[in-house]
Assembly symmetry: C2
Homo-oligomer: 489 residues x 2
């Protein structure tokens, strides 16, 4: 086959890059660090968006849209925030091009802006400057807004989907009258992300809270869902921030409470991005290509005819059309690939590369016998089934595949979570990947030492599971509970 | 009422601005020329997006995503294109901020980019630079991509939805093997836009082709749908461009045809934007506020209870909940406003302002009689109906409202289209608004003279209707057919 991937065992990173290109998901663009999301990749992202959007609306959120540009001075209003984003941002300084005297297209110096604009790396500042006008009384609260948007962070080392200068995401920004309500919202949205990752992406995640060091710039608490990739590395798949009153104070957003007293508003923000595509790919896929959970697959089933001549082709097409109708009737997304310029073997490999969960192959023998060959992408197994009742069979099979790839990912992850109490042992084993459940004394100093010496980071303090106190594996000082330490994307 | 609009008869432009703010559709942001689309406004835009997206997919298009940034040199590759967009664009020149020695947040001069990046005003250049890698043979064609995105044009005089520095839109970009196929695609998408405007927005439009002067920068032909606002001005609501081989030549995109010969690829592009919100508002709304076509209304029906005490309130709520269930069962989007802090009169005015097509009011008398008061937003009429069968009744009523507002807009438009053959008469009447069907000699010279002397522009050469030749009203030279001339937004 022309389209072969570097095997995972040989070079996991190269395997990922190969797969993203060869499954037609995305590619690098002419603009440094920016990607082109190709139609097949985008159609998976659309499925994610649709489901997340539904879940946001079911939890009472509404979509809105705020400006792409942020005045430079806004970014500077919250000290930690600007510290976090100033070093990697796209700055707009002029508003016009012109032809120079020697016929070159140049930036017109006369069009210099009075104040530079930053292409949003995240929208807390522009949104809280807007909320100031929306919020006066407790009756105006809560505000539960989300926006689907592009953002730019000038990353120096980029990788398709995982880390790009421009990416697509959603960012929720909510405003509340009380601390309790805002904290509950931040946790609720973490729950939404966790459910989405596990039920739809079939990616098991650990829900936790970040250490101070790893918090969002400007947050009091950052909640996270952490997934394990097949190389044992962690991928932060979504975060939800309790922002306290930091942005309300920075933009002077107060409300009059029920006792007629002014108070600063409490805030959350939360987001997931096209990075989820990276998580999806790296959790399930194999050396043959992408493996998609049926719930997010643009096509859940492909039907491939196997014929020797036009007459056979037309006989098979007739039967295939009836199968398509039956499957669509069951709500299954199915495509019949009757393209005559490609051979069946080529098609088999192509749909394997693209992760279509179920392939039905139909030959002349099948016509005679009333059968069809059913191939599963997740297990790469094949069986011959009666055409009779194939719709119901495939529907059940898709559910089974969805459950199976989750179970498989969970088993892999659970087999690579280690409780380690000795720092020497940790250092010896961290190179092999996996999540390490270790005691940590809670100090930034120790956290930074671990990072410096091993390049691993504290991924989160898990919200569920063992809460037994202990002693820090590095310093021996008291530890409230084990935390997850891993190398991360 | 607190929320009154300037009457249209007094100041149409102020009426529009008032309405956009008071119906909670959008507002100006702190960033010059950029708007905030508020949740209610955005939910209408989402309905538009969903329907358009469906229509694009039904005509074989797929979504994709291309970078926000365009290298300056790319914009310069197509001469007319750069001429059209260079004068109003946001230019990114740096990638970092830093603190100056005196503690100011400044642009870090060391982060100057080698080549400036333009925030996309439209994406032909970045997309055709990408298509170069996607297209090799006739087998790779056609490519039928669309993207939903934000774009920036540095407009000096902005108005919410109608003309803003940043706006949201979709842009289709297709690549074809033949001129005929590309021209057919450009016309097909004009048809999709026309159908969408008329069937869903209930906005009657004239389908036509632009004069050379009004063409998209880089196109061979620009097709347009032109709508008439209530002040008789034209609003260009969507355009579809036949780009010929201009961008293929600029980016050297060739394919090998069936005869094994290289050829340049043929292109189209087409787009509609949040400007459609302006067209929607200005076509149907009145001095009480927004009037929405039921097909695009976030809520099609609101139920308002009228009570004197908690006991009555709870009795009415029980009945209202049953009505909500019945209406939802018919696929109707309904909301029950049981908010106790607002009086019924306030709610009536509020939902009128927001254009909810049908209001059901429910009082104690209605409970006794098994009735409900039904009010139509479009005609502002009320009637008392039996609760029995109300679901079916409202369903039919929504269809009737959809048809009625289209008919009303069409009647208004048709009554303001004038055939005029004398330039003096034209000049005398153009100030009063309307579409003028006039003969024009086809020259840019005459077109510019009309524009200079009257500020009216040739909106389009209509594709349908009277094709009788005649004599130009300005020069007396031969004219192939009448064209539409109007003042425009």
């Amino acid at each position: 086959m022309a389209k072969e991937l570097t095997p995972r065992s040989e070079n996991y990173s190269q395997w990922y890059n190969d797969l993203v290109i060869k499954a037609d998901l995305a590619e690098n663009s002419a603009v440094r660090g920016c990607m082109v999301i190709k139609p097949y990749g985008y159609s998976i992202w659309e499925k994610m968006q649709a489901q997340l959007d539904l879940m946001f609306k079911e939890t009472g959120h509404q979509n809105a849209y705020f400006p792409l540009f942020i005045p430079k001075s806004y970014l500077g209003r919250e000290a930690e925030h600007v510290e976090g984003f100033a070093k990697e941002c796209a700055v707009v300084t002029h508003s016009r091009l012109k032809m120079s005297d020697d016929g070159q297209l140049i930036v017109d110096p006369a069009s210099k802006l009075e104040e530079e604009l930053i292409v949003r790396p995240t929208s807390e500042t522009i949104i809280w400057s807007t909320y100031k006008n929306w919020i006066h009384s407790y009756r105006d609260l809560p505000i539960l807004c989300n926006q689907w948007a592009n953002v730019v962070r000038w990353e120096m080392r980029t990788r398709l989907f995982l880390r790009t200068a421009e990416f697509l995401w959603q960012e929720g920004h909510t405003a509340h009258a009380t601390r309790e309500e805002a904290e509950a919202e931040a946790r609720r949205m973490l729950g939404v992300y966790g459910d989405f990752a596990e039920k739809y992406m079939a990616v098991p995640v650990i829900r936790g809270v970040k250490s101070a060091n790893e918090r969002f710039a400007g947050a009091l608490d950052t909640y996270t869902i952490e997934a394990m990739m097949q190389d044992g590395k962690a991928l932060q798949a979504g975060t939800s921030h309790f922002l306290g009153q930091n942005f309300a104070k920075a933009f002077d957003v107060t409300f009059v409470n029920k006792d007629n007293q002014p108070e600063y508003v409490w805030a959350t923000s939360w987001g997931v991005s096209t990075r989820l595509m990276g998580a999806l790919i790296m959790t399930h896929s194999d050396d043959n290509g992408l493996v998609l959970p049926p719930m997010l697959a643009p096509y859940q089933v492909v039907i491939v005819p196997i014929y020797k001549n036009e007459e056979q082709r037309s006989q098979l097409a007739e039967k295939a059309d009836r199968l398509v109708a039956e499957l669509r009737d069951k709500g299954i997304r199915v495509v019949f690939d009757n393209n005559d310029t490609k051979k069946p073997g080529w098609k088999f490999a192509e749909y394997e590369m693209k992760g279509v969960p179920v392939r039905l192959a139909l030959g002349m023998r099948d016509l005679e016998n009333g059968t069809v060959e059913v191939a599963r992408r997740d297990t790469l197994t094949k069986e011959t089934r009666e055409q009779q009742g194939i719709g119901d069979y495939v529907k059940t099979l898709l559910d089974e595949i969805q459950a199976n790839i989750f179970k498989k990912a969970q088993a892999y992850r659970d087999a690579h979570i280690y409780e380690v109490d000795s720092y020497d042992e940790f250092k010896a084993r961290i190179e092999d990947g996996g999540f390490f459940l270790c005691h940590w004394d809670g100090t930034t100093e120790t956290e930074e030492r671990i990072k410096e010496e091993t390049k691993a980071t504290i991924r989160c303090v898990p919200l569920q599971g063992d809460k037994t106190p202990g002693r820090c594996m590095v310093t021996g000082k008291p530890s409230a509970q084990r935390v997850i330490i891993a190398k991360a994307y």
